[in-house]
Symmetry: C2
Subunit: 375 residues, 2 copies
DNA sequence: TTGAAAGCGGTACCAG
DNA sequence: CTGGTACCGCTTTCAA
């Protein structure tokens, strides 16, 4: 295969001589694409008028129509890079999530898209794979595109990332958590408190020997917070903790079976299992079936996240519902408000939110225990 | 909420006077970010030398180090828009998938990322939501960023989309299908043939009254192809068809229960169900449990896609395995090869693949029936 | 309402 | 190996 020789060389280092760019002017698919000046010439106006038509500013109706016809005729598409360079304002918004494969985060991205796209912002989406170094690399690479604003996941970042983000001087929102010291603003909830609530729910149902299964990675802060909340509440209730930590994030369905096995091996009399995610809870329930255990009669199982599988599984899975899509839309709205504020005021460019409104930049997202059949 | 007054106005129409851009030169987070000329001045070289250091071209080691120090000291981040404009070459690759929430497609995106990122290409990701008009809008909007290459899903597009794509003059790959007339190149498989294979498998296991459950939408071409394959093979086997079409794409777990109910109501003696997706198959199996039907003893269920749930469900789900991640990496490799070819040759810019190598631009992706417990 | 000129921040090209 | 200059395609600014 052609690629094997030089599989990671940068693409496009060879080049076309500047003067040859418009070499093939013949009307073929290979002809250089039309420029704004081409449109202007065809419509018999100046570039500026074309620019104004595109931006929807004040242009006489007749002129505007003539220009629009020329645009359509040539199939003109404006060059965003040129526009961004000239105006000093890109049309990008950057988003970073730990894993696009997790429906949780893809819902958040969809929510962000829904909020930002109508305002002409194009998302630059990055998948950090729960790796802070990778997050840093992605931030660096996205910053090259001068995004108007940035959304990222969690409160945990390398110090270089924080530095980059602050220096970027654009609104930043941290999602899915409520950091003690946000870089700029946050849209999320306390994963620890949510987990405590689940333990209280289970205790209220009479379960006293409650286990927790989660991932082994120290990088999944939200998972760790949930574990922390479990520990706090178990202690508060005077119960003893039973924790199994196993496997990498993202936690998938495959996680549940071995984790359940490990838990029951160590603490055979466990009467309820709280899982770091619905994915894991589902895997655990399926494993219960294989072991001939009935859920919840023999053992109760609870999840986190209210994924679709929690609703569709038999038994249906008791879980904590978090509005992932809403986190996206709220984040989008928060960023837009900050952009307006920066923009409207004294014209100081690229100001972060925190310089203006230090405090009330945290949006708290609701969550609720959804009581279903499994617990 | 502040946004309610003007929820969809474009952002950033007010502006900062050009001359004020560097108004606050004080060393604060509000100072204008450093430019290449600043780096050059600090290092005592010309901009060109800085540019060469960044590009990793031939620069004397001592000079390079000096420049690098200046870069680090200033925290300089090159502006991608300026670079793209000047060189006539962006660092973007565009991808369009029907739904980011589907693990199938998010895996493909991950594969693409893995293939393209090492070459310095930044993905522009778009979610068409199974809507061809939306796809067209997204293509138009992405084209403004002059992507070096484009990957999109399926063979079905509006004629305007095809026109835009051809005129863009960059390599284009259609994924997840093998169109009779690809725009440029394709990486996929025949969904119809794969479905036929599943019917043959079920027939081979002795099932004769095989139903099909799928979505009602005409927009999900891959779903329709699977249905077509089912119909062809059922006919070939001398069986009669039993088809239920229900609900929108993407098909989720919620689809399975009502679809199974509808199928059994109309054809109560059905002995096997083939589902358009594992999601649906899972929902159907859970519904079987609720109805007191044992799988596969009372009724067999098969899925499509080899999603994680197919492996973790009890019973495990018989399905067709498709390497979604591999579709992404193969697509990436195909695009990279085309970029190299364009680039290396006569320097004609922005040439599509098909102008070179009309035929062998289709990469066929393997699939296999995975026999598990459910059928 | 429209146009002309300047320049955004880099890279190509050629000369030294 | 390094620097000077022109210029990428668009928007800003200011004048008409």
């Amino acid at each position: 295969m052609r690629l094997s020789t030089n599989a990671t060389a940068p693409i496009g280092m060879s080049s076309t001589p500047r003067t040859a760019k418009r070499a093939s002017e013949a009307r073929s698919p290979l002809a250089a694409p039309p420029r704004m000046s081409d449109v202007a010439a065809l419509a018999g106006v100046s570039k500026m008028t074309v620019s104004r038509v595109l931006a929807g500013r004040g242009v006489a109706a007749a002129t505007r129509e003539r220009v629009q016809r020329a645009i359509d005729q040539l199939g003109y598409v404006a060059d965003a890079a040129a526009g961004a360079l000239s105006s000093g304002r890109s049309a990008f918004a950057a988003v970073l999530v730990p894993s696009l494969a997790s429906s949780n985060f893809s819902d958040t991205v969809r929510g962000l898209t829904a909020a930002l796209e109508p305002h002409g912002l194009q998302l630059l989406i990055g998948d950090t794979d729960y790796d802070l170094e990778r997050e840093e690399r992605l931030v660096r690479s996205m910053l090259r595109h001068q995004p108007r604003c940035i959304a990222l996941t969690g409160a945990q970042h390398t110090s270089a990332t924080r530095e980059l983000l602050v220096r970027a001087g654009v609104p930043v929102v941290e999602m899915w958590d409520l950091p003690a010291l946000p870089i700029d603003a946050a849209v999320g909830f306390s994963n620890a408190k949510a987990a405590r609530e689940m333990v209280r729910y289970l205790a209220g149902r009479g379960y006293r020997r409650i286990g927790f299964i989660g991932g082994a990675s120290e990088l999944d802060r939200r998972g760790l917070e949930r574990l922390k909340g479990y520990r706090q509440e178990v202690k508060a209730q005077g119960m003893s903790e039973r924790v199994v930590r196993l496997g990498d994030s993202p936690i998938t369905m495959r996680h549940g079976a071995p984790a359940l096995d490990a838990l029951l091996q160590r603490w055979p009399d466990t009467d309820a299992v709280m899982c770091v995610s619905d994915m894991s809870a589902f895997g655990a329930i399926m494993q219960c079936r294989r072991r001939g255990l009935s859920v919840p009669a023999d053992i109760a199982v609870a999840g986190f996240g209210n994924f679709e599988v929690a609703e569709c599984c038999t038994p249906t899975i008791t879980t904590i519902s978090v509005d992932a899509y809403g986190i996206g839309t709220r984040t989008g709205e928060t960023l837009l408000a900050a952009l307006r504020e920066n923009d409207g005021a004294n014209g100081m460019p690229r100001r972060a939110m925190s310089t203006r409104t230090p405090a009330r930049n945290s949006v708290k997202i609701d969550y609720t225990v959804i009581a279903r059949e499994s617990a």
